[in-house]
Amino acid sequence: MQAGTSTTHEAHDAHDHIHPPPEGFVRKYVFSLDHKVIGFQYFFTGLLIMFIAGSFAELVRLQLTDPNGAIMSHTAYNEMFSMHGTAMVWLVLIPLVTGALGNFVMPLQIGARDVAFPWLNMASFWILPVAALILFSSMLWGGPHAGWTEYPPISLADGTAGALWCLAIFTIGISSTMTGLNFMVTIMKMRAPGMTWTRMPLFIWATFATALMNMVATVALSVAVGALFLEHVFSVPFFDPARGGSVVLYQHMFWFYSHPAVYIFIIPAFGVVSEVLPTFARKPIFGYKMIAFSSMAISILAFTVWMHHMFPSGIAPWLQLPFMILTYAIGIPTGIKIFSWMATIWGGRIHFTSSMLYALGFLITFTFGGLSGIFLASVPVDLHMHGTVFVVGHFHYVVAGGAVMGFLAAVPYWYPKATGRMLNERLAQLGFWLFFIGLNGTFLPMHWLGLEGMPRRTATYAGFAKAFPDAVFWNQFETAFSFLMAAAIGLLAFNVIWSLRHGTLAGINPWGARTLEWTISSPPPYYNFKKIPQVFDRPYNFDQPLPYRNTDNELDEFPEFGRVLMPIPQPVGAGA
């Protein structure tokens, strides 16, 4: 072989020596370098923190059942909603959608044996529990009180708790940045031979766009909270107006990250939906390139809209107009995706598995949340509604109805690949209906309450309830429905653990899906791919043979879709 002309393919051949799996409990399950194990670690840590942060949310809801505050003091209420937001955003959503899904699925889908820097990946994960401990330990000093954004000057009154909050977010920011860097390099350099950019599965495009934002934006967040930390601890006057600082500066720095952050949660969910819909509609994805490019467009536009969070903060009117227009503009790539997905399922042969139900539910709730976002993008409307629960309703429709829904669609979809067993389908479907009904019941009334002017982030609303007597009923209604969502998440956790032992055996490819991870055994072996496969086409053409060669399993060994779950004879076009 002539050295020096090594193509990607030959380089992979050179890489074909397979490392033996590690031995011993600690190397295997605790400080593991294996991306699949790290994915599980993210999954279970995220789920555990979701329970804690979710119970904070339930306490918030219980407090609002009475306009004078039902269960706790104003200070405790401020602490609860601040901790709920902080923990959910940084310790639950980002670890779940990028850490858990990205780690487990991404290397399998590109035909790689691991991520580019496994050691860095392990370090990224282990920073997460440390950050969680720092954040929750801040509650010993009274916790943060200024919401998940911790705007100065209010947050500067938090003292030690505020400093610990900054430290926790700074730490988790470093972890996110490292994950983003790692995933960028993995996707750019380690794809299977033949997998060109336009042959990548759409989940990979989504992970790439997310990783880009993680790498670029998270550092800006680290700087914002780092500067706040310096102000807390050393009294450095970045944000102190008395010494020439500016509180609006913090908002700029914070939102320059945190607007992309909402796309960091949502774009992996877009990726999941782009995998689930074609698989269970048995149709090629509609507009592959448009979906892929719109992910990238969103990740770039996301850096140009941050000031729409700051319309009431006194930024110059000449700045408000361009940011309003740019915010409308970011609706365009999102709309392209929604229409492409609708065209994908149109005329398809839809199998209502729990994944598909979540993905369809995502289309409804996410679109709804997107539309209320268009309301808020308009400066005059935003000035009216910024301080009301309308914003809370909008945000939770996109986050719970978008990111979490997408994540919940991913769990039953990849669970068989991860564990070798199916998730209990009945429980998963019950979970979907609980979650979907609970979500709409909790957050839909917030829209009209917000339009009437119900303030957000207040422990009592007696004055508002006097002006709008129905408010009490609707708040109690929301609280009742919020427990359905909690039940759905509890059911999911039970199901995940129960099915580990009692689920039906899944086989290699229970859904008849076509991306690369479904060509290897379930659960995948330590080295993922014994032979690195060759890719010839993108994975969504359901009426054609699989576009891979050199796979570990012969292609005709693939079971037809539904062999395990439901008696559907033939996928569209296969053989008929």
Binding site: G4, A14, H15, L181, V223, L230, V236, P237, S246
Partner: protein
């Protein structure tokens, strides 16, 4: 075979041949690590740009610059000393370039000389900065000028300090045989890092001493 071919070449052709004909596993991981390192520098770049944004924002929105403290306007920074110190830092970039070039030409003695020169110049820059801090006459916590100046140059100084440690480790590794004429990614990364620290200083020098 490839190594034999490389023996007939000289100068840059030989370097290119050694770089290309390295064993494929190393070649592949080198490309991956290089990309990862460039992305690390990119994210580091955003670290500095965010603080620079804060500085520019605070400076533009301030009613007077340098700001007033206790009724007196603060002094401007002393450009001439900082300019000399900058020359020390940029000079260390030049010596680092020669160090890596000599390594590529398999000239270990010269590599060591240039690397030591780089480290000495880096330490010289840090000493200069320490002097600058002692005479600058503003405090970290008094005004936004001090806050931005000490935070940004302090962060940069920390990067220089980390770079000095990094280059020292690289020098020890190189003399212990960690790197060869064809496998020297660590030295490339160290050089990139050092040039990056230089480039950041160009911006900081302009923003604090020229603007």
């Amino acid at each position: 075979m490839a190594a034999a071919a490389a023996q007939h070449l000289s100068g840059h052709d030989a370097i290119a041949a050694r770089y290309r004909d390295v064993d494929p596993v190393y070649g592949e991981t080198r490309d991956i690590r290089l990309l990862g390192f460039v992305f690390f520098l990119l994210s580091d770049c955003i670290l500095f740009s965010s603080f620079i944004f804060a500085y520019v924002y605070l400076r533009i929105s301030a009613p007077a610059w340098p700001p007033f403290l206790g009724g007196h306007q603060l002094p401007w920074f002393d450009t001439s000393f900082a300019a000399m110190n900058s020359i020390v830092l940029f000079g260390s970039g030049v010596t680092m370039h020669f160090a890596l070039e000599n390594w590529k030409h398999l000239n270990k003695a010269k590599f060591n000389g240039w690397l030591i020169a780089t480290i000495v110049l880096g330490i010289g820059f840090l000493l200069g900065q320490a002097h600058e801090y002692s005479v600058v006459g503003i405090s970290w916590t008094g005004t936004t000028m001090g806050a931005s100046f000490f935070t940004l140059t302090g962060m940069h100084g920390f990067h220089v300090f980390a770079g000095v440690c990094y280059l020292t480790i690289l020098g020890l590794q190189a003399n212990r045989g960690t790197y060869t004429g064809s496998k020297y990614f660590g030295l490339t990364a160290g050089t990139l890092y050092w040039h990056f620290v230089d480039v950041i200083w160009v911006f900081l020098f302009f923003l604090f001493y020229i603007w």
